[in-house]
Amino acid sequence: MLTMASIERVGVDELRGSIAVVEAIPGVGYREEVEVIGAHGESLPGRVLAVTESVAVVEIFAPTDGLRLDSSRIRFRGHPLRFGVGPELLGRVLDGAGRPLDGLPPPPAAEMRPITGSAINPTRRAYPRDFLETGISSIDALDSVVLGQKIPIFSESGLPHDALAMQIVRQVRAPGVEKFAIVFAALGLPRETTRRYLDDFDASGARSRLVVFLNHADDPAAERVITPRCALTAAEYLAFDLGYHVVVILNDITNYGEALREISAARGEVPSRKGYPGYLYSDLASLFERAGRIAGRPGSLTQIPIVTLPSGDMSHPIPDLTGYVTEGQIVLDRELARRGVYPPVSILPSLSRLMTDGIGAGRTREDHADVAKQLYAALARVERARSLAAIIGTDELTEIERTYIVFGERFEREMLAQASDERRSIAETLTIGWRLLSILPRSELTRIRDEFIARYAS
C-alpha cells in the first residue's frame, strides 16, 4: 500500500501521446500520483493507470511534446491524486489540474484530499427538498430544482446554454440561504467562451463566491478527466465542511466524454457504444452522484452540468447515460430558439424528478404542483393540436383545439420568454401561469383542485 514517500526513476521505456510506460518500482500503487520531469526541469502531473510487477503505465495531464525516453524522470508520490482544499479557494481561477491561472500564489490548502472522493453512504444522505430559485420561470415553475439535486441542461451547439448558465450564476438563490457558492468547471471550452464567462462573473460581482476551474479546448484530454474531480472535491469541501450551498456547473460533459474515449482508445480498451468505453455510465455516475445533502450537515451540493447533444441526438451515449444518472433534465430546443424565445426551454421533454417533494405550501406555494400539472397537460394538448394543424390546417380544428393553439403561443411569449437580466420570483411566475390558464375553459382545468381555482384564478 501507499506508505512510502516519493520514489523516483530516471528513464521511460515507452511514450505514446499522453501515456508513458515505465519500469516498475516495488510498492508503486494503482492510481498513485506521479510527477514527470522533463529534460529542462519542467514538471508534468500524472497518475498510474495500471501497474504490474514489471511496468507501470502512467497517464500525463499536460502536453508531452518534447519528452525523451532517456532524460525524463518519473517521481512516484506515494499517494493518490489529491487536491488541496481550503476556505481561500473562493474567488480563485485555477487551471484544469487546480493550479492558479490568476497570477496569485496557490490557495493555501487546509487539507489535501483524494480527488476521486468517497461514496456517500446512502443511509446518511438527506433527501433534497429545499427549493432553489433560478429566477427563470420555465425552470422554477415546471422543472423546479432543489438544493442537492443533479439536473443537466441538454443543449446543442449554437443554443444559448452559456447565457442561461451565466444567468443562473447571477440569479440563483434559495429562501433563507445566506451562504451560496458556485463552482464552475470549464471542460474543453474554447478560450473565447471562458473569457465571456469570466467577464460576466466580474461584471455581476459574483466572482467572490466562485471557484473557477478552466480546462480549455486545447488543453490535454487527460487533464479534462481530472478537472471535474478537482472541482467536485472543492465543492464537497465548501458544502459539507464549511456549510455552503454550492452549485456546480460542469461545462461541457460532452467534451469530457470525448476525452474519456480518447484515453480509453489509447489504452487499447474494448469499446462499447460509439467507441465510448464500457464504463462510461459508472464514470459519469462517479461525478454526478457527488451531488446531494448529508444528514446533519448544513450545506448542499447541487449540480447543473451542461451537455451539448452531438447533432441534437438525445439518444447519443453521453446524454443518454447522463439522463440515467441525473435527476431529470432541462432541454433546450432549437426551434424555440429560432423563433426568438429565450431561454428556449422545451417543457415536455424536460423533467425534474425531485420537484414533487420540493414545491408546495411552505416551500414555494400551495397551488404550484397543480398549476404545473395543468400546464403540462395543456402543453401536451398544444403539441397535438399543432401537429394536427400542420396536416389539416388550423381552420379544420375544433374550437377547443384552436384555443390550445392560442394558449401555446401565449405560453411561449409570456412564460418561457424572459430577458437575460430578468429575475422572476416564483410568485410572479405562478401569477403568469394562472393568467395563461384563464385562456382555457373551466372544464379543461381537471388537474387543479377547486379550492385553488377559487383562490387564485383571476
Binding site: 500500500m1 508503486v28 500503487g29 492510481r31 456517500i120 455510465y281 452522484e289 439518444s315 433534465q329
Partner: protein, 566 residues
C-alpha cells in the same frame, strides 16, 4: 504467500501458492478488500475486487477465505439497508461516518442483538427437514420461523427467551442449529417442487392488475428510457404490492432514490397488516457510484435473501432497479477479463446470466412442505429507450409479463406510463380463475371488452391525426373522447393522491364497470342518432376523470340515468 502481480481497475491478478477455488472469496491488500476469484490459469488467479482498488500495489498480499461468496440469513434482515456484498450500511455509517471507507467491514447481521425465541418442539421429538423448531418475532409484521436444517431427533432445544443470532438454539441429530445460516449467493436454494402459478400479485396499480397482471412467483420486466417513471413505478410497487416481504435492489441507480424510500417507508402503513412498511422491506443499495463489481453481486445477494424468506413460507417480491446496470457491470468485468465480446460489447453469456436470474423466481413447495413464492420485477434501462437492445431482448425470452414504459405518455405526465400497445402479459389460467372467483365472474369478458375498446380508440386516433377529429363520424368521436377520459380516469394513477395511490381489485372492477357502462350506453345512444358532442359534453365525462380520487364511487345506475337523460 499469494501476492498481487497486476492491478488495472477492479480486476486484479495474483500469483498464488496455495490451492484456490473458482469463485472463492479472497481478501486483497492490507485493507483486506473483498474479492472473488473469477479465473485461474496455472499459478495466476484473476480476482474481481468488490471495492475501490486505488492504492493497491504489486506485492500486496492476497488471503484465501476458503469459502465462496455467501449471504448471511436469519432474523435481522428486515428493515435493514445493505450494499451489494451485504455490508450493513446503517451500522457502517454509525461506525465510519458519512462516507464509505474502502475495506470497511461488519457482519451483515448484528451479533449482539437479542431476539425473542419461542420453541415449537420438545426434546425427543422427531422432526423432518424444514420443520419449525421455534419462532422469532422479527418485526411487528413478520414472525420468523427457525427451521430444522436436517431431519432427525431433537437432542436439545432452547427454552423461551432471548438469544443472539449465533447462539445455538437447538441440536438436531447431532447438528447445532443457530438462527444464523449462510447460503451461496450464486446457487439457487433447493426446493421440493415448483407449483403452478395460481394467484395474482396484486400491485394496486390498475393498468397492471387489470390489463397486464403478474402472477405470484413469476418474473416480469419493465423497460423504460430515462424519465419514463421506472423508479416511481417501482417505488409504488414497493409500497403497495401485496407481498409479505419486499426486497428492493437499487442496482447502480441514484443514491437519493434510496434515501427517498428510506424516508417514506417508515411513514407508510401496510393496508393489510396496519404495520409500517419498513418492517417488511429489505433494501440493497449499490448506487451508481459504488463499486461496479459489487453492483454485479447485488442482484444475487437480493435474490438469495428472497429465496430464504420464500423457504420460510412467505410471498416475497424482489424489485430490481435496474438490471441494465447489472448487465453493464457484467460487460465491464468481461471487458477487463479481455473476453471476446458479443453484441454491443456484452459478453456472450449475457443471455444465460439473465436466465439464471429470472429462473430464481417461482412459486414453490419448500423442503419443509410450506408454500412460498418469489416474484421478480426487473426494471430495464434500455439505451435511448430502444427496446430492441440486447438486455431487453434476452430478458423478454424469460418473462411472460412485460410492462413497457412509453416516453410520450411520460412527457404528457401520464403515470404509470405503461404502454397499452407494447406491454403484454401471458396470464396463467389460475390467475384468471382467481379474478373470476374472487372479484367478478365476468372478469375475462369485461377485460376483453376494455382492451377491444382501447384498440378501437387507438385506430380512431390515427385516423383523427390524418383528417382531424371534427371530420370523424359520431361513433368514432365518442370512442375517442371516452378513451381520453379512460386514460386519465382509469389508466393514469397518481402516486401522490391519498385515495388513488393504491387501488384494490374490487375497486378496480367498480371503476372499470363505470366506464364499461358509459361505453355500452353511449354506443346505444349513438345508434339511436344522438350526436356525440351532446354525450361527451355531459358532466359525467368530466366526473369520470376525477372519480378515481373519490372515496366512494357513483353507482352505475346514476351513470345510466345521466346518459338516459341526454
Amino acid at each position: 504467500m499469494s501476492v498481487l502481480t497486476e492491478i488495472s481497475g477492479w480486476v486484479v491478478k495474483a500469483r498464488v501458492d496455495e490451492p484456490l477455488g473458482l469463485r472463492e472469496v479472497v481478501y486483497v491488500g492490507s485493507d483486506q478488500l473483498i474479492g472473488e476469484v473469477v479465473a485461474l490459469d496455472h499459478s495466476i488467479a484473476t480476482i474481481q475486487v468488490y471495492e475501490e482498488t486505488e492504492g493497491l500495489a504489486p506485492g500486496d498480499r492476497v488471503i484465501a477465505s476458503g469459502a465462496p461468496l455467501v449471504v448471511e440469513l436469519g432474523p435481522g434482515l428486515l428493515g435493514e439497508v445493505f450494499d451489494g456484498v451485504q455490508r450493513p450500511l446503517g451500522a457502517l455509517a454509525a461506525r465510519d461516518g458519512d462516507f464509505i471507507r474502502a475495506g470497511t467491514r461488519l457482519p451483515p447481521l448484528d451479533r449482539d442483538k437479542l431476539w425473542p425465541f419461542e420453541p415449537a418442539v420438545a426434546i425427543g421429538d422427531d422432526v423432518t427437514i424444514g420443520a419449525e423448531l421455534g419462532l422469532v418475532q422479527e418485526t411487528g409484521a413478520i414472525a420468523h420461523p427457525i427451521l430444522a436444517p436436517v431431519s432427525g431427533r431433537i437432542h436439545s432445544i432452547a427454552g423461551r427467551g432471548s438469544y443472539r443470532v449465533a447462539d445455538v438454539v437447538a441440536r438436531v441429530d447431532g447438528h447445532d442449529v443457530t438462527m444464523l445460516q449462510t447460503s451461496r449467493a450464486r446457487v439457487p436454494r433447493p426446493v421440493a417442487e415448483r407449483l403452478p402459478l395460481a394467484h395474482p400479485l396484486i400491485t394496486g396499480q390498475r393498468v397492471l392488475d387489470t390489463f397486464f397482471p403478474l402472477a405470484r412467483g413469476a418474473p416480469a420486466c419493465m423497460p423504460g428510457g430515462f424519465g419514463t417513471g421506472k423508479t416511481v413505478t417501482q417505488h409504488q410497487l414497493c409500497r403497495w404490492a401485496d407481498a409479505d416481504i419486499i426486497i428492493f435492489v437499487g442496482c447502480g441507480e441514484r443514491g437519493n432514490e434510496i434515501t427517498q424510500l428510506l424516508r417514506e417507508l417508515p411513514d407508510l402503513v401496510d393496508p393489510r397488516t396496519g404495520r409500517h412498511l419498513r418492517e417488511r422491506t429489505i433494501l440493497i443499495a449499490n448506487t451508481s457510484n459504488m463499486p461496479v463489481s459489487a453492483r454485479e453481486g447485488s442482484i444475487f445477494t437480493g435474490v438469495t435473501i428472497g429465496e430464504y424468506y420464500r423457504d420460510l413460507g412467505f410471498h416475497v417480491l424482489l424489485l430490481a432497479d435496474s438490471i441494465s446496470r447489472w448487465a453493464e457491470a457484467l460487460r465491464e468485468i468481461s471487458g477487463r477479463l479481455e473476453e471476446m465480446p458479443a453484441e454491443e460489447g456484452y459478453p456472450p453469456y449475457l443471455s444465460s446470466a439473465l436466465a439464471a436470474f429470472f429462473e430464481r423466481a417461482g412459486s414453490v413447495r419448500t423442503l419443509g412442505g410450506r408454500e412460498g413464492s418469489l416474484s421478480i420485477i426487473a426494471a430495464i434501462s434500455p439505451p435511448a429507450g430502444d427496446i430492441t437492445e440486447p438486455v431487453t431482448r434476452h430478458a423478454q425470452r424469460f418473462v411472460q409479463t412485460f410492462w413497457t414504459l412509453d416516453r410520450h405518455l411520460a412527457a404528457a405526465r401520464v403515470f404509470p406510463a405503461v404502454s397499452m400497445r407494447d406491454s403484454y402479459s401471458d396470464i396463467p389460467a389460475g390467475v384468471m380463475r382467481w379474478w373470476e372467483s374472487q372479484i367478478d365472474p365476468q372478469w375475462h369478458s369485461k377485460r376483453g371488452t376494455a382492451m377491444a375498446f382501447l384498440e378501437d380508440a387507438a385506430r380512431d386516433e390515427e385516423m383523427a391525426r390524418l383528417v382531424g377529429s371534427e371530420s370523424l363520424p359520431d361513433r368514432e368521436r365518442f370512442v375517442l373522447r371516452l378513451a381520453e377520459v379512460f386514460q386519465e380516469g382509469f389508466l393514469q394513477q397518481s402516486a401522490y393522491d391519498e385515495v388513488d395511490a393504491c387501488c384494490a381489485p374490487a375497486r378496480q372492477r367498480d371503476l372499470l364497470d363505470l366506464f364499461l357502462a358509459t361505453y355500452k350506453r353511449g354506443l346505444e345512444l349513438i345508434g339511436e342518432g344522438k350526436p356525440a358532442d351532446a354525450i361527451v359534453s355531459l358532466p359525467l365525462f368530466a366526473n369520470l376523470q376525477r372519480v378515481k380520487s373519490a372515496k366512494t364511487l357513483p353507482a352505475i345506475s346514476d351513470v345510466e340515468k345521466e346518459l338516459a337523460a341526454c
